[in-house]
Subunit: 206 residues, 2 copies
DNA sequence: GTTTAGTTTAACAATCCTGTCAATTTTTCG
DNA sequence: CGAAAAATTGACAGGATTGTTAAACTAAAC
């Protein structure tokens, strides 16, 4: 049992992932994936049967990552403001690793009803978990008079809005492909990260 | 010179707009647009020459709308907090009329380098105009000690983030096509609008 | 009523798309 | 080694795609 350094199936998967994240399902053809990966395009069907199945495998994984991580970020036993601060920062840092991810998922969800249903089904339990973490924490702080009353869903959407939009803006204003990790991008993101924490914390204070 | 109630060119344009907004450039074929509009697909090429030209006409208009309106919303001679409140609300209400617009523009900008350059070129003067409106207003309030010091770009991005993401969320969580103006959607949006104003105002206070 | 300009149509190219399959090469393993 | 299994290939089918064009239709203008 040798460990192949070049596993064809994996190679196709990685190439497809890169192209799909960049241009979406309808923006990429099977032929192009095969060409880019340097393999015969029949192989793509040999391993994944259809373009749809290949795409779904990638989409499923990415959508799950995106949702799961949002819970993970806030699932820590910390003082309230710390929990919020660390949560925002963790979520932000996660997106730094995968800047195209949010727009990729959103694009496909809006374009395709089945995928929308798929993600809503997944989002529901995730939403409940995070709700159960955040709601009592908010209530407690409100009772203590430390923060103004705020709905959990509003707070979470605010955080998601600010963090996600930072990466959408990066993709619009910078050439993320060539610039990659340029100083300008890093500086912009650092500023947004700091701003997002401050904005959310400030907005909670009475 | 009679005013035709059914102008074919206009009909194609409107149909194309609806489909492109929904599924993007690569998600719609010329044949489909023609079929949906109930005209021969050659007409589409007769009037617009190519799919690209037809699309660009729509994209250009939509992208301009999206940017211009953001300035308009804040270009009012009002007390600072009023200016911010009214600006957020106007921008939000504009998006209510065209909920698919932000994701449409973002999708195409990310997928296509030329369109990205196109929008950046357009965004630059718009950005400058709005910058000149907001920056002195902020400085004045900071000097008065009414708000904490904040960068104009941060404030504007915060507003855009919260407002735009509300409509992205709507598209993910609701079936905007069939539900249209359902009570659930209206309620969700009303809550987000209120939240966005509050969040921004609160985050500015010292 | 014939010309003229603007519309509309059907048919056609050329290309690209997804997916299949039988034949061939490579790998695995008894 | 040699048979069985797995991986890879090229050719091809059946459609769909964008785009062109010549001919037919329509309605206004002279």
């Amino acid at each position: 049992m040798e460990l192949k350094t070049t596993n064809t199936e994996q190679l196709i998967l990685e190439t497809a992932e890169r192209l799909f994240l960049e241009r979406g399902y309808t923006g990429v053809s099977c032929t192009e994936i095969a060409k880019e990966a340097g393999v015969n395009h029949a192989l793509l069907h040999y391993y994944f049967r259809t373009k749809e199945k290949l795409f779904n495998q990638i989409f499923e994984q990415k959508a799950t990552q995106l949702l799961e991580f949002f819970v993970e970020a806030f699932d820590r036993d910390l003082p309230f403001f710390e929990k919020v601060k660390i949560g925002i920062e963790m979520h932000f840092d996660f997106l730094v690793q995968q800047p195209e991810l949010p727009l990729f998922v959103l694009r496909e969800v809006v374009q395709n009803k089945e995928r929308k249903d798929q993600i809503i089904q997944k989002a529901f339990p995730v939403g409940q978990r995070i709700y159960k973490i955040i709601t009592p924490a908010i209530e407690e702080e409100v009772k203590k008079g430390v923060i103004r009353p705020v709905k959990a869903i509003d707070l979470l959407l605010n955080i998601a809005s600010l963090n996600v939009f930072a990466f959408v803006a990066v993709q619009v204003f910078f050439d993320i492909k060539s610039d990659g990790k340029s100083a300008a991008i890093r500086q912009f993101l650092a500023q947004r990260k700091k701003n997002n924490v401050e904005t959310i914390i400030q907005s909670l204070k009475i």
